[in-house]
Amino acid sequence: MSESDLDIMEPETMKSYIWLQTADGSVQQVEQEVAMFCPMICQEIIHKGAGSSKNHAISLPQRVNSAMFSLILDYCRFHQVPGRSNKERKVYDEKFMRMETKRLCELTSAADSLQLKPLVDLTSSALARIIEGKTPEEIRDIFHLPDDLTEEEKLEPLKNTMDDPRIRLLNRLYAKKRKELKERERLKNVEVEGHVDERSVDDLLSFINGTDPKVAKMSKGKKKYKKKKNQKIISSNDKESHDLHFKQQGVEETGSRMRDLLSLEDEIFTPKAGCEDGDIDDEIDPAMKEMLDREVEDFARRLNSNWAQSLGQERRPVHFSINGNNGTTRRHIGQSSGHN
């Protein structure tokens, strides 16, 4: 036992004082029984023997500045007296809690760091009473909270967003947009992979051209695929043609069966999974069809101009109709053109 402990245990003829230092540097003497009301100070005294002299003052935690400490001491001084009735204590507590919100928050923090639970509970109740029943704006005002949530975030928590017609509309629009983007992504990805593409087009081509489909390699490069296709069928100057055209080319080459093919394509590429919004699909499919139609025309134009160039003379427009002639012609041209 250290000397200071012995001091504490002696019967008191003189009051003993504990030395304490607040976060902002001021050192003060406090009556022992008052200071010991705080568990944290109590522990410091008993376990570390601190506080017995000015040089060994107990350092209070950072959240306890002198103003707060003096408040806490008042509280401790009142409550550590054993003889008070419950009613007296309650009356004192209620009076004690009358202070501005800023101080209340600081006091809560300080009391918490000193582990003075009854005071923490008291201040928490006071703060809860302040928050109770107020609108968010009022609360933000009182506690100086930043209003930094987005509109959508504010609505998110438990409010039933589905009821608000504006939110519903927004959601539908977002969903539509997302779908469209997904569609485009999917189209791009499919062409790069060349999976579904190959089989369907090969089958179709074989059907049209009366030949067995070559075993389609898993071509990763669109150029390779294009070359093969072109050798077989038609010359193409579509080196530059983008992914989107790629698949469509294969389709277009088969000419008038295009519509059928397109519908087949639609089946393959249209998401088969149940869609929440039938409307959206309807809108995209015709849009896609439109796009494809446009590509077809472009291609036709380009084709015509190529022919003219390669042959040098003929300017007969190519009719995209399925018949043996055309097929053969295309093949022939493809072989001789040496494009790509």
């Binding site: 809560t108 509970d121 928490s124 609360i139 933000r140 506690f143 909270l145 209003d147 504010k154 928590p157």
Partner: protein, 416 residues
Amino acid sequence: MGESPDLISDLPQSILENILTRLSLRDAIRTSVLSTKWRYKWSTLTDLMFDEKCVAPSTDRAVVETNLVRFITGVLLLHQGPIHKFHLSTSFLQCRPDIDQWLLFLSRNGIKELVLELGEGEFRVPSCLFSCLKLTRLELCHCEFDPPKSFNGFSSLKSLNLHQILVSPEAIESLISGCPLLEFLSLSYFDSLVLSISAPNLMYLYLDGEFKDIFLENTPKLVAISVSMYMHEDVADFEQSSDYNLVKFLGGVPLLEKLVGYIYFTKYLSIGDDPGRLPITYIHLKTIELYQVSFEDANEVLVLLRLVTHSPNLKELKVSASPIQLFPLEEESFDLFERDYLDYKLPRLETVRMTDVSGIRNELEFIRFLMGTSPVLEAVVVTSSLSDKDARMEMVVELLRFPRVSPRAQLLFLQD
């Protein structure tokens, strides 16, 4: 600093949770729209108490019901971390599959205290409840309770409260014996229950309903008992057993401090063959409150006397004499009081309250007995149910004659 600093958001989470638990759940959740920091501060609260005040009121019940269900489901989905307390008290919800799902969710999140007070209906408690082995408190109201055969009880359960539950008596008995730590037991609104209670740690027992037979088999630590016993009309069943119910019920509770009995409790205790003396002395019993005691029935008076005389530290006695008469007996004037308890002393009795006194012989004799045996008696408060002024006057005169052992004893006569 240009702007005022945020006063509160940076307090430790433990303090903020302390504050949030003091708000209604609705207000606590509304803090999520205050600022980005506050968005999920509420979501780690471990105690969730729901009732219809969580949603906006409406005259349409169905609207309130739907909103409440959405609210609770929403809270549970957004919540993070364990949930220790879940209270749901509302008459707006009865039997809904949503409740099953909530209970399943809770059973996976370490639920410790579950209070389910539903509206009248037949909500059948789902089997996931029986896998909540961390339960320390369970309170069910208006439910159907059917534990699976593999259920062995809740090993941590300390408090069990079943109100108007549809359950077989065997299930209750095995549930009680399967909860070795049980300290508080409340069974109310039961019909014709025959129950044998074996709970070594039980301290508080509250029974309310139509019980045919209760046997406190193993409840040595009981401190407080409160029984409201309703009985069947045909009491022939009771007369069968020869065991003295007083002994059967109160024979094994040496630590008893408070005893409260309503309706037919005293009558129930009086049934059986009286062995003469009670096996134990209730040295801790300080308060006895027995209501609806039929003073015309000598057996009931005997029960009262036995209890009083076996409680040397009795401080407060409250007896309500009841006009309820199951069996209109002939009024026996018997000198029981003088015969057996002549030199008896009730050394600590301070307050006696007798209500609904109608002035019959036994009542008056009992008061005389008390006043003659309580040296520290301070007040005897008598309230009468007599409407006839003369009869009342007679009674008062009679009471005033009684000798008082305590110099401080006051006889206070109040009118109903």
